[in-house]
């Protein structure tokens, strides 16, 4: 799997069925994704869920509003479902 931050515009071009996790930024302009596809036009790339989670804790102001971050638990358990993404 591949771990990225992408813009909303890039996200809209991706194959949703290959995405297993998605988390929108607070301002809804960016998305954290885990996908089986390779996305070269990413803003950030991470080695695994741990480094991705660590990033959100360090840069939480853009991603969560409670001063914490996106935990590995959330990454693992919150399955992306394309038909429920508005």
């Amino acid at each position: 799997m591949n771990y990225y931050i992408v813009t909303e515009e890039v996200f809209n071009t991706l194959t949703k069925e290959n995405i297993s996790f998605m988390h929108k930024s607070i301002d809804r302009s960016k998305r954290i994704i885990i996908t089986s596809d390779t996305v070269s036009t990413n803003l950030n790339e991470f080695a695994n869920a741990t480094t991705l989670s660590d990033y959100t804790f360090t840069n939480n102001s853009g991603w969560v509003g409670d001063g914490t971050g996106v935990t590995e638990e959330e990454i693992e358990e919150t399955i992306y479902i394309p038909e429920l993404d508005d």
Partner: protein
């Protein structure tokens, strides 16, 4: 008040005794039912993370809520959301974990995923032993339509600016009911918004990893935050308020949930038809004193406020 032979034009609330009898011992006067239940206040969860701001109780094994994964039970609470779209995280509404434990120690939790508009439930005894399911509100099609209708949120997510279908004082009654199977399959669990079922859960057979073994340990029960570190918060725009939290030692029926909902006006849960199975009840009228069960601690900036 001295001995009075007649009362005319006096407010009943000003009378504490009638002929030396405490008024709470009276069922009716002149055929009129007396209701002394008041529900003016609620518990407001602090906007801050951490145990120092938490609303919680540490069960000392006398409450009867030390449920294993194959026990039937129900959790219900009134909630008035204080979060807005900026919280953007998992908001724990009710969570309990083995006393002194971490997320994988006999945890049962109900949380709202603010980023995906999902009301989740899960119980777990390990990272590879967990059962999970959820309902979502913004899709008015197929199996999601009942939740869309029950919540009344429309296509906008649940938050302090969009509370959907509510009862008195803009509170919603959330009730989760679990059967005797160690399974999050739709046939074993029900979730209600006010008195209405949310319908079929997303995972018809449950989202299962391994087999949770919850044991029957003492629990630490948290309202408005996770029950393990960092004890996350449940509001950012305003404090999220909780009221009438109840824990039942049975899977409540739809009729029993409707009775609890009472068309949006909270009832005294000790008068509910299933009250014999009521194991925890917090009214939050003046503090965290339990009407049934053990008292809650209300820490830091969390406090009792008018509904």
């Amino acid at each position: 008040m001295g001995t009075t032979s007649k009362i005319t034009g006096s407010l009943a609330t000003a009378i504490s005794k009638v002929s030396g009898t405490v008024i709470s011992g009276l069922a009716n006067i002149m055929g009129q039912t007396i209701s002394l239940f008041t529900n003016a206040n609620s518990a407001a969860k602090s906007l801050t993370t951490g145990t120092a701001q938490a609303i919680y109780v540490t069960d000392s094994n006398s409450m009867g809520v030390e449920w294993d994964a194959d026990d039937d039970f129900s959790i219900s609470f009134w909630i008035k959301p204080g979060w807005d779209l900026g919280l953007n995280t998992n908001i724990h509404l009710f969570s309990m974990t083995d006393a002194g434990g971490a997320v994988n120690n006999g945890t049962f939790r109900i949380w709202y995923d603010d980023t995906n508009n999902r009301l989740n439930v899960q119980w777990r005894s390990g990272g590879s032993h967990r059962h999970h399911n959820f309902w979502t509100f913004h899709s008015n099609s197929g199996k999601y339509a009942p939740a869309y209708a029950a919540a009344g949120l429309g296509t906008t997510y649940w938050n302090s600016g969009n509370r959907g279908n509510v009862g008195d004082d803009d509170y919603t009654l959330i009730t989760f009911c679990k059967g005797t199977l160690n399974s999050a399959a739709d046939t074993n669990i029900d979730m209600y918004w006010n008195g209405t079922t949310l319908g079929t859960s997303h995972y018809t057979s449950g989202n299962h990893t391994g087999t949770p073994d919850m044991g029957n340990n003492d629990k630490q029960i948290f309202i408005g935050s996770s029950s393990w570190s960092p004890y996350q918060k449940s509001g950012n725009n305003d404090e999220t308020k909780f009221d009438g939290v109840t824990m039942w030692n049975k899977k409540l029926t739809a009729g029993e949930v409707s009775e609890l909902w009472n068309s949006g006006t909270p009832i005294n849960a000790t008068t509910h038809s299933a009250a014999a199975e009521l194991k925890g009840y917090w009214e939050f009228e003046s503090d965290g004193t339990a009407t049934v069960g053990e008292n809650m601690t209300i820490n830091g900036n969390s406090n009792i406020e008018a509904r």
